[in-house]
């Protein structure tokens, strides 16, 4: 029986030498294609005696199937090889810089403002933003800062007319809130304020956050309890507050609030100037005259209020020594506040 051993030998050696898909395709053409050597064998059928035809046909089919099998194996090998080469070719230096836009960040004052808002939001405070241009009534008179009183001098005011002014504090937000709604009130008023002084420690524009709570039975103890939670949220889990007497026309009693130094824990260090305490805000029990000025009965309700300098907290938190840096907007400075 004919086994076409010559052809098989040719196929084997030819396939052996195939290196890529093109050569493989050539091989197919030469042997397995319509005009290929193996297909050509069928043409010899005519000259094969009739009784041998079936056997001859089978032998040709055998060699075709055998060759096809070899071809498939080779084909898989070539595919694998080419993929490997492609991966090698496409390999890059993954440590090279990317093309995207570098990430920027918010201004540190905005970051701290929102940290503060988060702490107070958890206590149930809403956020109200009032106008930056106020009138005498909202900024002073109804806050019990009366016209002939020296407390007016505590805040150097930028005037626009004899009535309109740039708000000197966020406290007018207290009045606007109480005009708009009745107790229970828990509101924060963050915003820009303006004072007509400018030196190393003052900017003519800065940011404050006012807080106001009005409800039944609010006391000085509540002010401290609430501010204890605030300083724990802002500074450290062990931070606490100290109250000491002060004066604001819109609160009575009025207090300055110190936080235990978060740098030294109260032992005394340069940050707290050796005292163990750092002044962070002012506040007090809302003066009953302010409640009355807003149509709230001080016999029924009482309140507490506080005002925090956002720049001061920002500087303390980030260790910024000069207030001016917050307004210089230099990229070296701005780009440091990512967290």
């Amino acid at each position: 029986m004919k086994d076409f051993s010559e052809i098989r030998e040719q196929v084997r050696s030819k396939l052996e030498s195939v290196r890529d898909a093109v050569e493989l395709s050539d091989f197919w053409q030469s042997y397995l294609g319509k005009t290929g050597v193996i297909s050509g064998l069928m043409k010899e059928m005519k000259s094969v005696p009739a009784e041998e035809k079936p056997l001859f046909g089978k032998a040709v089919n055998d060699v075709r199937e055998w060759a096809q099998e070899l071809y498939r194996t080779k084909s898989a090998e070539i595919k694998k090889l080419e993929l490997k080469q492609r991966y090698e070719r496409e390999s890059i230096d993954v440590t090279m810089p990317a093309f995207g836009i570098p990430q920027a960040n918010l201004h540190p004052i905005t970051i701290i403002k929102h940290q503060m808002i988060d702490v107070f939001a958890g206590m149930g405070f809403e956020i109200f933003e009032g106008p930056e241009i106020e009138d005498d009534d909202h900024n002073f008179t109804r806050l019990n800062v009366l016209k002939d009183h020296p407390s007016r001098d505590m805040q150097d005011t930028f005037w626009l007319t004899d009535d309109l002014l740039l708000r000197t504090h966020t406290s007018p937000g207290q009045i606007r809130t109480m005009d708009a709604k009745k107790p229970p009130i828990k509101v924060l008023v963050p915003g820009k304020v303006f004072r007509s002084d400018s030196d190393a420690t003052h900017s003519p524009m800065f940011s404050q956050m006012e807080g106001l709570v009005v409800d039944k039975g609010i006391t000085l103890c509540d002010l401290q309890g609430m501010l204890d939670r605030f300083v724990r949220g802002m500074f450290s889990d062990t931070a606490k507050t100290r109250l000491r007497p002060s004066y604001f026309p819109f609160t009575e009693p009025s207090v300055e609030v110190d936080v235990s130094c978060f740098e030294c824990g109260g032992k005394g260090c340069p940050l707290c100037k050796g005292t163990g305490w750092i002044e962070v805000l002012g506040g007090g029990v809302v003066n009953k005259k302010v409640l009355e000025n807003c149509g709230i009965d001080p016999e029924e309700y009482s309140g507490l209020a506080f005002g925090i300098g956002i720049e001061r907290i920002t500087m303390l938190k980030y260790g910024i020594s000069h207030m001016g840096m917050l307004f210089e907007n230099d990229l070296d400075f701005l780009s440091q506040f990512k967290a």
Partner: protein, 805 residues
């Protein structure tokens, strides 16, 4: 305010160390800003007696043998260059190891070949002046009084063993602007009796010369109380050493006993006083009246002041003799020959004094007290104390002529009723009733108890006390804030907190811009007209209608901004200066737009989102990409059309809108504006600055409140490409608009290629768009898509002269 400890001790026994006193003052609301020990920096300086003195041949030096008492030996060899030392003189001797102000340390020293073991000191070397010690300012060694004790520490001899406290007084406590005022507080917290100054005096005469004192009716408002007292036979001499020292340490020069007394009373009881030479008063009259507009007076500082009706003037029959509460007139000044005086103690209204003082730029100690407020009790004790000192010191005889002009305010103490419960309800703790009563009594309140109700007699000097809240503050500052027990709003209702939707959105927008590489900045809300000039705005540009500050601190910050552009340009300019090669910035802040000028109502505060970018990789399209991304982030699509701004590149400026709402502009800063920036020319050469200003107030109105999901129609959409040749001047947006109008099925049109070539013809460009055709109700067929494309091309051809390639 400066308080000398030894002076304070005259009115209250202070048996605690100065540190404890300072702590207690702090705890009761009086922060001591500075505590200065007067003898600081002086060590091992004693009273030395010069036992012999010989000139050192060939030099200007003298060889002294000095007895420095027991501890430092009776024979110290000290050389001195001064000429005023003599045998037997008592002098300050700094022995070896001594320290002097200015960091000087004394060690054995060779002078002209001879060893000196110490130094004799001048007043200046000890840091004192003539007011403090006679002889302190002479050129030479300070010669001490003969009765000085040899060997005694000079700090003690010169009364430098004392403290000067600088105490900050809050605006509600004008009564504490004096030694007596602080003494009252100290007496209260130490629970010691207060020893009031001696207010007694006797008139030396019963005769009443022809003198008149009056306050005109229209001035009574500004001068509610005016006391005058006649003194005569005035002697002129130096005040006693202690008075001089007390005045000088508080910043007053000693002048003459009578003038010194007026200053002393100001410091001691807080009442400004003035002395008028009666001889200079025409008609021997004092008339307190408003100045006439334009009236002039020459004040003691020899300056002419021009006044208005708002200024209160002390006058005689014909002329002004003093600016009320601020400074006397030069014409009525006390002279060495003055023999008759009218002493003045008055209450002038604080805002009147403040206004006058500010208007004239004349700030004096007296004005400072009046501005903070004096009370009528202080007026009375001030006059009494001054007369007491006049008599005690033998300065003058006290006449019987006493004038008291009053607007009629009660001289009785005010009363108040408060319940202990109410006081404690403010504090939130239970201060025992006995404690409250004791505290109030220590603060000189009269207290009568009726159960829980306290009837209080308020001291006349406590004008700040009105109600239970004021009493609560008095109680807690004495009882101690450490008694406050923190509670957490136990009685308050639970409320919902946090940012509202708009506030959340705003924070989201800011954070999104950060992801686009924009750093948030903070700039001042004011600038000057120069910034508007820099923008090359026309004279009638709306931005020039700016709100002006009446009292700017500097011309650079004199108007409220009407556009953010100058602020952003400044930020970029500063960063270019500091060698940052590229930067992206944003600010979301207000501009202030007046509704009418001059202002009759608050201006509109409009929130503007301003973006700025510069650097080699920035172009109009990189910034546009960020703005489109911002729109997409908020579910919006912005429309860009050609725009115009005087400060932006005429060919690179877009007007941005959304759903027909104008939002602002984006463009490149004009070269003329770049040229004007205060940066090196080298850095300006390739500087391209891109600016966008978006009206955030308007933009936030477009934010979608609610989103709804739209399911896919399931209908076939077809995409087609369309390449056109158009005029170079034709805008992309014009083609998009016309195409959308021509085919209702066109759901999206997007430019994907563009080029210019000579082959296309002069002034032509090629634009290639991909078109998507969709119909929510039916499948779009190829035939339909082709027909629609043809329709679009036809329309573009007709309207814009476009030719399909």
């Amino acid at each position: 305010m400066k308080i000398l400890l030894s002076w304070l001790k005259e009115y209250v026994d202070i048996d605690v160390p100065v540190e404890v006193l300072v702590e207690k003052l702090f705890g009761s609301g009086f922060e001591v800003e500075e505590t200065v020990y007067l003898g600081k920096d002086i060590e091992k300086v004693v009273v030395g007696e010069v036992t012999s003195i010989e000139p050192l041949e060939g030099t200007h030096l003298h060889v002294c043998h000095v007895d420095c008492g027991g501890e430092y030996g009776s024979d110290n060899l000290i050389l001195t260059g001064a000429d005023n030392v003599f045998r037997g003189a008592k002098v300050p001797a700094a022995v070896v190891g001594a320290k002097l102000p200015g960091g000087i340390e004394i060690s054995p020293r060779k002078m002209a070949g001879m060893m000196s073991y110490g130094m004799l000191c001048s007043g200046e070397e000890l840091g004192i002046d003539e007011n403090w010690q006679e002889g302190a300012s002479v050129h030479g060694i300070l010669i001490l009084p003969e009765d000085s004790k040899t060997g005694e520490d000079i700090v003690k001899t010169l009364a430098l063993d004392d403290y000067l406290l600088d105490i900050s007084i809050t605006a509600n406590r004008p009564d504490c602007q004096s030694v007596l005022g602080i003494a009252r507080e100290v007496a209260a917290f130490l629970r010691k009796p207060l020893k009031e100054p001696d207010y007694s005096y006797n008139c030396d005469n019963t005769g009443k010369p022809e003198i008149s004192v009056s306050v005109t009716d229209d001035a009574k408002e500004l001068c509610p109380r005016y006391l005058g007292h006649y003194i005569y036979d005035v002697k002129h001499f130096d005040s006693p050493r202690e008075m001089k020292r007390r005045l000088s340490v508080c910043g007053f020069g000693a002048i003459d006993a009578i003038v010194d007394i007026t200053n002393y009373v100001l410091l001691e009881v807080g009442q400004p006083m003035h002395a008028y030479d009666l001889d200079t008063l025409d008609g021997k009259s004092i008339i307190v009246r408003r100045a006439a507009d334009g009236e002039k007076i020459v004040t003691l500082d020899e300056k002419e002041r021009v006044l208005t009706r708002e200024n209160l003037l002390i006058c005689d029959k014909t002329k002004g003799v003093g600016l009320a509460g601020i400074m006397g007139g030069l014409n009525s000044e006390i002279e060495p020959t003055t023999s008759e005086i009218l002493l003045e103690a008055a209450k002038f209204r604080r805002d009147s004094v403040r206004k006058t003082s500010r208007a004239l730029g004349l700030h004096t100690d007296a004005a400072a007290r009046f501005e903070k407020g004096v009370d009528e009790y202080g007026v009375e004790i001030g006059m009494a104390r001054a007369l007491n000192l006049v008599q005690k010191m033998g300065v003058a005889k006290i006449g019987a002529s006493h004038f008291d002009v009053s607007a009629g305010e009660s001289r009785e103490c005010r009363m108040a009723e408060v319940s202990v419960k109410k006081v404690n309800s403010v504090l939130g703790i239970e201060v025992p009733q006995k404690e409250i009563v004791d505290i109030l009594k220590a603060l000189q309140f009269g207290v009568s108890e009726n159960g829980d109700m306290l009837t209080l007699t308020i001291p006349r000097f406590r004008t700040d006390i009105e109600n239970y809240q004021d009493i609560a503050e008095e109680v807690i500052r004495e009882y101690g804030y450490s008694h406050v027990v923190p509670t957490f709003l136990d009685s308050a209702k639970v409320t919902a907190g946090g940012l509202n939707a708009a506030q959340n959105k705003e924070l989201g927008v800011k954070k999104f811009l950060c992801t686009q590489g924009f750093y948030e900045v903070q700039t001042l809300a004011m600038y000057s007209r120069r910034e508007l000039d820099m923008l090359r705005l026309s004279e009638d540009a709306p931005e020039r209608r700016a709100v002006e500050l009446l009292n700017p601190i500097t011309d650079n910050l004199s108007i409220m901004r009407t556009t953010m552009a100058p602020c952003m340009i400044n930020v970029i300019s500063e960063n270019v200066k500091t060698d940052h090669a590229a930067g992206r910035f944003f600010e979301l802040a207000n501009v202030y737009l007046p509704k009418a000028l001059p202002l009759t109502e608050p201006p509109e505060e409009r929130k503007i989102l301003c973006l700025g970018a510069y650097g080699a990789n920035e172009s109009y399209f990189t910034v546009k990409a960020a703005i489109e991304a911002l729109a997409a982030y908020n579910g919006l699509t912005f429309r860009f059309e050609r725009g115009e701004r005087p400060y932006l590149h005429p060919g690179i400026c877009a007007e941005i809108s959304c759903d027909g709402v104008k939002l602002g502009t984006l463009g490149k800063l004009r070269y003329e504006a770049v040229e004007g920036l205060p940066i090196d020319d080298g850095k300006k050469a390739d500087l391209s600055i891109f600016l966008a200003e978006l009206d955030y107030t308007a933009l936030s109105g477009l934010f979608k409140r609610e989103l709804k999901y739209t399911p896919d129609s399931g209908k076939t959409k077809i995409k087609r490409d369309m390449s056109l040749v158009v005029s170079k001047k034709t805008l992309c947006v014009e083609i998009e608009d016309a195409a959308k109008k021509a085919s209702p099925l066109l759901s999206d049109i997007r430019l994907f290629d563009h080029f210019e070539s000579e082959k296309l013809g002069i002034g032509k460009k090629s634009l290639s768009f991909s078109l998507i055709f969709a119909d929510p109700a039916a499948d779009v067929t190829d035939e339909l898509a082709d027909a629609q494309t043809d329709k679009i091309v036809a329309a573009l051809s007709e309207q814009l002269g476009a030719v399909r390639r």
